[in-house]
């Protein structure tokens, strides 16, 4: 079970993406197993690319007897996964996510760490993080706040 989840998580970085891909996989497998259709008609190119990127032996884990069981176990496991909420100053698309995800996993040395991207324009640049209910601001706003007195002194030098 963990192998299936880990395989999915290898190239899936966000919780939203994970849920979407799990739904996609389930739909694809249902069609593949029960209707002999190998193609997912409603998927976009990115989804298809992902499905194609999965190793061949991955799909061998699924058959008509265990497919629903696997997903029934998978879904609660997904719900329990810890998610790092990242607050960005801009809207992150899939391209940004594909760069951000590996960066987060590499820095935090957690290859299966999931992220959830939210937008907060007030942070200006950089990011703020929320992990297990704890919020910490590492953004430019926090740096400005940290250096407030120094910045004020510099401004006052101009006023004198």
């Amino acid at each position: 079970m963990n192998d299936i989840l880990n395989t999915i998580l290898e190239t899936t970085y966000s919780l939203t993406q994970l849920k979407h891909r799990v739904r996609l996989l389930k739909s694809y497998l249902e069609k593949a197993i029960f209707s002999a259709q190998a193609k997912e008609e409603n998927a976009n190119q990115a989804d298809l690319n992902w499905l194609n990127s999965l190793p061949d032996n991955f799909f061998k884990n699924f058959n008509k007897d265990n497919i629903y069981q696997i997903f029934q176990i998978l879904e609660p496991q997904i719900a329990k996964l810890p998610v790092l909420i990242i607050y960005l100053a801009f809207e992150a698309d899939d391209q940004v996510l594909s760069q951000l995800g590996p960066m987060v996993r590499k820095t935090q040395q957690n290859p299966h760490l999931l992220i959830d991207v939210k937008v907060d324009p007030d942070i200006l640049a950089g990011c703020a993080l929320s992990w297990k209910g704890m919020y910490k601001d590492y953004s430019l706003r926090a740096k400005i706040e940290e250096k407030k007195s120094e910045i004020m002194e510099n401004f006052k030098q101009f006023l004198r």
């Binding site: 960066m103 820095t107 935090q108 324009p121 992990w131 910490k136």
Partner: protein, 228 residues
């Protein structure tokens, strides 16, 4: 009863007329007589009067002639006395005139002297008055100068102190305004800066720069062991 004749009134009238005539005649005769008597008397009176008049005329002529004589006498006396009096008056008048002349000369001399003294005194008074006026004017000017100087000094001091107070108040106002503005700036500068940065950085930072900043934040989180 006796029956009166119808001609009774006529008779009575006739009788009356007769009586009246008789009476008239009688009266006429009396008057005539009287007139005669009165003419006589008048004649007598006239003669007496003429006589008296003649006597009067004579007497008056006597009186007149006497009066003329007396008058001539009086005139002569009067002329004599008059000439005497005139002479006396002339002498007296001459004396008086001489005395008056002398008095007038004296008075004139006194007057001239008095005028000369008066002129001198007037000149002295004028000089003294001029000097006194000049002294008063000088004193007035000195006092005026002194008061003006005191006033100017006082005014200058008051003005200076007033200006200094105003300047001090203005400086304090400026300082308080400056502090107020600085305080406002202090309160809002970070917000202004953040807003400016959000406007500028949103358009200026590239994706790579954004990701670099995010990477930096993640490294810092790692160092702080935020994600465990």
């Amino acid at each position: 009863m006796i029956n009166l004749p119808a001609n009774l009134p006529l008779i009575i009238l006739t009788i009356s007329a007769l009586v009246s005539a008789v009476l008239y005649l009688r009266e006429y005769n009396a008057r005539k007589k009287l007139e005669g008597q009165s003419e006589k008397v008048l004649e007598e009176f006239r003669e007496k009067g003429l006589e008296g008049l003649h006597q009067s005329i004579q007497k008056s002529q006597d009186i007149i002639s006497q009066a003329e004589v007396e008058g001539v006498k009086v005139v002569a006396d009067t002329r004599f006395h008059t000439s005497k009096m005139e002479k006396g008056y002339e002498d007296k008048l001459g004396e008086i005139i001489n005395n008056s002349q002398a008095a007038i000369n004296n008075a004139q001399a006194q007057l001239i002297q008095f005028m000369a003294d008066l002129q001198k005194k007037s000149l002295d008074f004028e000089l003294a008055s001029q000097k006194s006026t000049q002294d008063r004017i000088s004193q007035m000017f000195e006092r005026l100068e002194q008061r003006l100087s005191d006033f100017l000094v006082t005014t200058s001091q008051k003005t200076t102190s007033s200006i200094e107070l105003e300047v001090k108040a203005s400086r304090e106002l400026i300082e308080s305004y400056k502090e107020q503005q600085l305080k406002l700036i202090d309160e809002n500068i970070l917000a202004m800066m953040e807003q400016t940065l959000s406007i500028v950085l949103g358009k200026k930072l590239s994706l790579k720069e954004q990701l670099d900043l995010i990477y930096e934040a993640l490294e810092k989180a790692k160092v702080e062991k935020f994600i465990v």
